[in-house]
């Protein structure tokens, strides 16, 4: 029988973050669609806006490009969404 030293590092405690409240419906709401700017994917974002607008004509879908490349923070945009938006869809990936 052997006892071994655990080779794993200690992870910090995880602060659980509550999710934003959901909407009761989309009618009359403003939904942001965020493009995090993966190269050459903006046409996908525009098409998503088009499809959603056709299906939910009473909802305003607003496209915004995040400042900087996909890995950079954009506090001004987060503030805009909190101030003017009801929800956001974030598009991430290739």
């Amino acid at each position: 029988m052997n006892t071994v030293i655990n080779p794993r590092g200690q992870l910090p405690a995880t602060q659980q973050t509550p999710m934003a409240l959901r909407l009761d419906s989309l009618g009359g709401k403003t939904i942001y669609i965020l493009d995090v700017r993966w190269p050459y994917t903006h046409q996908f974002i525009e098409e998503m806006r088009n499809v959603l607008s056709e299906r939910y004509p009473d909802t305003q879908f607003v496209i915004r490009d995040k400042a900087g490349s996909y890995g950079e923070d954009d506090p001004k945009l987060w503030a805009e969404i909190q101030g003017h938006g009801d929800a956001a869809i974030v598009a991430v990936g290739h």
Binding site: M1, N2, T3, V4, I5, N6, P7, R8, G9, Q10, L11, P12, A13, T14, Q15, Q16, T17, P18, M19, L21, R22, L23, D24, S25, L26, I31, R37, W38, P39, Y40, T41, Q43, F44, E46, E47, M48, N50, V51, L52, R55, A67, G68, S69, Y70, E72, A87, I89, G93, H94
Partner: protein, 417 residues
């Protein structure tokens, strides 16, 4: 899974077929009106549900979740412990030496630092793990290290440079050791230095990955590791000692180029993807052939680039005869002769992703480049310092290797003796 690790365990996610980069709009529409390839549900339904569904109690959590790591595992049989390490993703799937208390205690004799001393943090997954000298020693035992390797391994651990990451790019590190410790621990800088024919080279490179897996909590495909194809260099990260004895007169060891004294022992890290071999073909001189390789590398933009040359000592001597009396003069030559037009520059995928946003934020030189004609010539590299020259090999043939290796930083080993 990142969302789970940072405290948002039920982030609503939907997925469309990939890639979408450069995919025409009608195809994008088909994707959006089609099904999620993972859940097989309609993408639109998933988006609307995500915006309007009800939050669960789990979604509303605000507590602090502790994740204690016990110091010991076992007691158990060797067979069961080996299975435990394998099944919990704590190895590189090659056989390991179990880090028993006795073996770890023996390993700790390779350093004057105390077992419970906090070494630092390493982030190979989504979070940085903190760790002690004893935990580093446990990984060293697993890799098959000798105690005398510990100063090198501790310097690597304390550097905070993880060998692997969460990136979708399958990169690796190159790890180069300079100074007296190379010979003290028997590292190979000569014939076959980059092959698995030397214990120190093999093990030190291997432990870099084990530390990233265990200390840095990375290396789990589709959870903390997303490199699409992976990289065989991750087995030992092209780890070698520079052949300082084989340097031509006038060429400095790499660590001396970086400001260390010759008698200091130093480990240097590089970021990159691949190495390829070359020998003069139709070019009359070696420096001409080297340019072909230097011109292949992604240009420096908002995304950092680099070029690493690994020259056999006889190649280095030839280059001196060709007119390069120092490593720096060869780097300068490569820098001066690897120009490209702005039109070419802006076509690179990663340049578009990193440099164009920088230009739009008025960051120079990208902002100015965006206003200049497409036929304007620019340097592929930001400075000659992005071109690293190392000497390694056993003088049996005038081959050399090179790759897209960007120098990261160098760290003192002597602090960890």
């Amino acid at each position: 899974m990142h969302a789970k690790l940072v405290g948002k365990p039920r982030l609503r996610i939907t997925c469309v077929p990939h890639p979408i980069s450069r995919v025409p709009s009608p195809v994008c529409r088909e994707y959006i009106e089609g099904t999620d390839p993972i859940s097989s549900r309609l993408v639109i339904d998933e988006i609307i549900e995500a915006l309007t569904d009800t939050l669960s109690e789990d979604d509303k959590r605000t507590d602090l979740e502790e994740r204690p790591v016990p110091r010991l595992i076992g007691p158990d049989s060797e067979e069961n412990l080996q299975r435990f390490f394998l099944e919990n993703g704590m190895t590189d799937y090659l056989p390991i030496v179990l880090p028993t208390e006795e073996r770890v205690a023996e390993m700790l004799k390779g350093t004057s630092h105390k077992a419970d001393e906090l070494v630092g943090e390493l982030r190979a997954g989504y979070e940085a793990g903190s760790f002690t000298v004893e935990q580093v020693a446990a990984n060293a035992v697993m890799a098959g290290a000798k105690p005398e390797y510990m100063p090198v391994i501790l310097a690597m651990a304390a550097s905070g440079v993880a060998a692997i990451s969460t990136s979708t790019q399958s990169f690796a590190r190159m790890i180069v050791v300079n100074g007296p410790i190379r010979n003290e621990i028997g590292m190979n800088s000569g014939c076959g230095a980059l092959s698995p024919f030397n214990q120190a080279n093999a093990v030190i490179g291997r432990v870099a990955t084990l530390m990233s897996i265990n200390l840095g909590r990375g290396g789990v495909p589709n959870l903390t590791y997303w490199g699409s194809q992976g990289n065989t260099l991750n087995y030992n990260h092209a780890t070698f000692a520079e052949n300082e004895e084989g340097l031509p007169t006038g060429w400095q060891p790499f660590h001396v180029q970086k400001g260390f004294r010759p008698e200091e022992s130093v480990v240097s890290f590089f970021h990159g993807y691949s190495l390829w071999h070359w020998k003069n073909t139709y070019e009359k001189e070696k420096h001409e052939a080297i340019l072909h390789m230097a011109n292949w590398v992604l240009p420096s933009g908002g995304y950092k680039s680099g070029f690493g040359l690994l020259l056999d000592p006889i190649v280095a001597e030839d280059l001196v005869r060709e007119g390069y009396p120092t490593k720096e003069s060869l780097s300068q030559y490569c820098y001066d002769n690897t120009l490209l037009t702005l039109g070419e520059f802006w076509q690179y995928h990663l340049v578009e992703g990193f440099s164009l946003p920088a230009a739009q934020k008025d960051i120079e030189p990208y902002a100015s480049w965006l206003k200049q004609p497409e036929d304007t010539l620019i340097n592929r590299y930001r400075s000659p310092d992005e071109i690293s020259v190392l000497v390694v090999g056993g003088k049996t043939n005038d081959f050399w290797q090179a790759g897209d290796w960007r120098y990261i930083s160098s760290f003192s080993i002597d602090d960890w003796r």
